[in-house]
């Protein structure tokens, strides 16, 4: 309740419209607030401080902005809208249903999917094009949703991948609480910390956890939960040398091991949901059509 209130307050302050289908033109929405970013940087990098949802969303915005800076959104409104809707439906079945979830397809041939703190989720065009059903898409999005629900990225930051950066940022904050120059420097450090985590990947145990949660979130949302394992089987046939897969393979356990772990955790427990829809034709239609 408190976090929902905080989010509402945040949305109000930034001028996010109540109806999300009516996008705001105001650039003010994403304006960098120097002081706040410094505060966020400081609390995020102190393992003892619990960062609140407002800070998490702000951090996530920077992270997501960096990602779309690396690869822009695919210019296909109907596909973007479709992925957003599937994603939002899944997220409603997570433990953070009221987060300002956003989903996008990145215009990149690489095969990968990403989450940032605060509920920004991305899948690449390369991965979208290889999947064969909405249930597979749902499995991948649900895996990413699980990372956000469990705040795995914040954990990675606080575990020290970033401690030096954090110390630097914190000392700058304390030294001079001034305007842009410091904020720009802090912003740079934050961004490089985010990049570091993207290149190194999350804790392997967190990837396995996201797999276990992903199949369940898909089942809760009414999908055949075996979409995610089907994607892992597909990845398992591909070469780690495939340049489009390099980052995914370097930052995740091998797909075969993820399948083994999922099998041991699942057993027959999800069988009763296995006849839920896969929705292959709507997926193919939306992916191919305009």
């Amino acid at each position: 309740m408190k976090s929902a209130l905080a989010l509402a307050g945040f949305a109000l302050a930034l001028g996010v419209p109540a109806t999300l289908s009516n996008p705001t033109p105001a650039h003010a929405q994403f304006r960098l607030d120097a002081g706040r970013l410094l505060d966020t940087a400081r609390s995020v990098t102190q393992a003892t401080t619990e960062i609140d949802e407002k800070q998490e969303v702000q951090l996530g915005q920077q992270w997501a902005a960096m990602l779309v800076g690396a690869a822009p959104l695919l210019q296909n409104a109907s596909l973007q809208r479709y992925v957003s809707t599937v994603g939002r439906w899944l997220a409603s079945h997570s433990e953070r249903p009221d987060l300002n979830w956003q989903f996008g397809v990145l215009d990149s041939e690489n095969i990968n999917a990403f989450a940032t703190p605060g509920g920004y989720i991305f899948v690449t065009k390369g991965l979208a094009a290889r999947m064969r059903s909405e249930a597979e898409l749902a499995g991948v999005l649900a895996h990413e949703i699980a990372h956000v629900v469990k705040k795995h990225h914040l954990k990675a930051i606080q575990k020290g991948a970033w401690s030096q950066v954090g110390a630097n940022v914190a000392s700058e904050v304390l030294a001079q609480r001034s305007r842009d120059p410091t904020a720009a420097a802090a912003g740079q450090k934050l961004i490089s910390g985010m990049k570091e985590i993207m290149l190194r990947g999350l804790d392997k145990a967190d990837e396995y956890e996201a797999d276990r949660m992903g199949v369940v979130i898909a089942a809760r949302a009414g999908y055949d939960p075996f979409g995610l394992p089907a994607v892992l089987q597909l990845l398992n046939t591909m070469s780690a040398q495939d340049s489009g897969l390099q980052l995914l393979f370097e930052t995740h356990p091998p797909p075969g091991e993820r399948l083994d772990a999922l099998e041991r955790a699942t057993g027959t427990r999800l069988d009763r949901y296995a006849s839920q829809p896969q929705v292959a034709d709507r997926y193919a239609r939306t992916l191919g059509g305009r």
């Binding site: 996010v16 109806t19 996008p23 705001t24 997501a64 902005a65 960096m66 779309v68 800076g69 690869a71 959104l73 210019q75 296909n76 409104a77 957003s84 599937v86 939002r88 439906w89 409603s92 249903p97 300002n100 215009d107 990149s108 690489n110 065009k125 094009a129 290889r130 064969r132 990049k195 993207m198 290149l199 276990r212 089942a219 809760r220 949302a221 009414g222 999908y223 055949d224 075996f226 089987q233 398992n236 046939t237 070469s239 040398q241 495939d242 075969g256 083994d260 041991r264 955790a265 999800l270 949901y273 296995a274 829809p277 896969q278 292959a280 034709d281 997926y283 193919a284 191919g288 059509g289």
Partner: protein
């Protein structure tokens, strides 16, 4: 446009009938129907090559020699046993779906992307991120979508517990070769 159509047809056919090569990762029972209590048609040894026709939920319909039936998908890996990850994916030529909106111009890729080097050099693009908000679906949008066809019915499902003691499973490489 034709490329777009071609790609969609390809993926459509992929979704409906695959006929892909695969192999078993352990000894499995092949069932007449996709249920545990269905009659057992055959027993397949570990690393038996199979031809996968389709997936239905937790099961895959497969052929192996003269035998045909269903085995659990998580007991299957795609590709040929022993060389599952050789070669490239072979799908590289299919990527023609990235055309930009009304102008119809083709996106020039290669400048930006998600390789490691490109992530290292990425600069935040807040304007691009703002576009994403325009595509966002509300919770109500999602509910309407799920109430459509096919209907996606919400379920209460508990999360799975982490499996106990990884590694030394039935397919531990050090236990291979032992007859039973």
């Amino acid at each position: 446009m034709r490329a777009v159509l071609g790609a969609s047809l390809f993926f459509l056919s992929c979704g409906l009938a695959w006929a892909q090569a695969g192999y078993t990762i352990r000894e499995v029972e092949m069932k007449r129907e996709p249920f545990d209590d269905a009659a057992t048609v055959a027993k397949l040894a570990e690393k038996t090559p199979i031809e996968i026709t389709r997936r239905q939920g937790a099961w895959m319909e497969v052929k192996s020699g003269q035998a045909a039936g269903w085995i659990r998908m998580l007991s299957v890996r795609m590709g040929a046993a022993g060389e599952a990850r050789s070669g490239s994916s072979g799908l590289g030529a299919l990527f023609n779906i990235g055309r930009t909106g009304s102008s119809g111009a083709t996106v020039t890729t290669g400048v930006r992307g998600l390789d490691k080097e490109q992530i290292r050099n990425a600069k935040p693009d807040l304007a691009e991120l703002q576009k994403m908000q325009g595509y966002a679906a509300s919770r109500q949008d999602a509910e309407r979508f799920a109430a459509g066809e096919p209907r996606l019915a919400s379920q209460r499902v508990e999360y799975l517990r982490p499996p106990k003691a990884p590694a030394a499973g039935p397919h531990d490489p050090f236990q291979q070769g032992g007859t039973q």
